[in-house]
Symmetry: C2
């Protein structure tokens, strides 16, 4: 798979998943990339093999840690170039996106870091979007997936990323509705399942389910 193709898929998946919290459908990816859904099925299969995403048949796709890291690299390059084009080379904010779209594929860490340094290592680009740093740290909301929750902390359920009937029924059964408060009491090393207390009852949530529940620290 060509590097540019990989990068375009990952960027699309990242943006469609609202900063990497949602599971993304083939149709949405196909729409953004102007590809046929059948093509996207092939594409996400290959990205899965490359370990950049987890793709489950007839279900959807989400980025892996490696996928997120690469995507943030691309976004960093894109936003640093946008900022440099606007601030140092006098381009209008309306012009910079299209040029950055091409420049972002040139992967040279020293070059991007040099441009960033000249700009004073900005954290936001001209459009107000956050620029990841070299390590992939980015200013973001404190919405996380339940699968990323930490032991002992309290959370509130903010939403879900899977709207299938079976999943919603599963949540209802465990009272994991929007607004529900949770306390994490154990995280199993074995299968990454999460043991939590909700409505004074202990519930064990599989890693698959916890990756579809969006929570916020309280």
């Amino acid at each position: 798979m060509r590097q540019e193709t990989i990068e375009n898929y990952l960027k699309t998946i990242y943006h469609l998943s609202s900063h990497n919290t949602l599971i993304v459908s083939n149709q949405k990816i196909a729409g953004k990339l102007h590809l046929n859904p059948a093509t996207v099925t092939e594409g996400v299969k290959k990205l899965h093999e490359l370990k950049y995403v987890v793709y489950e048949k007839s279900y959807g796709t989400r980025l892996t840690a490696a996928g997120i890291k690469l995507t943030l690299d691309i976004i960093r390059r894109h936003r640093i170039w946008e900022t440099y084009l606007a601030k140092e080379l006098g381009f209008g904010w309306d012009e910079v996106h299209a040029i950055a779209e091409e420049l972002e594929h040139v992967n040279n860490v020293k070059l991007i870091n040099k441009l960033a340094a000249i700009l004073g290592n900005p954290i936001y680009d001209p459009h107000g979007d956050p620029i990841p740093d070299e390590k992939g740290n980015i200013q973001k909301s404190n919405f996380i997936k339940l699968s990323e929750a930490k032991l002992g902390l309290n959370y509130i359920v903010m939403g879900v990323t899977d709207h299938s009937t079976t999943f919603l029924k599963y949540l209802e059964k465990h009272h994991l509705i929007i607004g529900a408060r949770l306390n994490i009491i154990a995280i199993e090393d074995f299968d990454n399942s999460i043991l939590l207390v909700c409505k004074k009852k202990e519930v064990s949530i599989s890693s698959k389910a916890s990756a579809c529940i969006i929570v916020q620290t309280i």
Copy 2:
């Protein structure tokens, strides 16, 4: 044919032909691009269809006017980036080539002209190679192909670009050896053949032959 593939072929042909005066063999192109000669046969056929080169089977390839223009665009981008990377971004001369090799494929006239303006529209890059201007003008030697010679002027034969026995015999017959002095007395609109005087004899040279003879004004 992908734009990047086209550009890599044209650059290679340009450089192998010593600034576009020589006919280039498939083998040479294959060597530079690390491709199989069979692949290059296909490649130059397509470039011929695209009117960027004239390819003659079992003979060789040379750039057309359109091919030269595009190539000079690419060389301009490459050399402007090299200069910008070295002078404005503090990269070493040894580092700039590899980065420029990628940046050169981003085709945005305004961007390159902006960088050139910042640099003071340089005519030479850090390596001393000439930078074409926006219109494709480039500092070059006064060696030209006989096919580009002008009516009425005098020239001296400096070399040939085709070393086949049949061609060399043809030249010998007309006394067109290296060092021979020529005066152009007519250029036929019909077939671009050139009528010239050499050793006090009138000789008509076909456009194909005149494209293989390198001359210099005297």
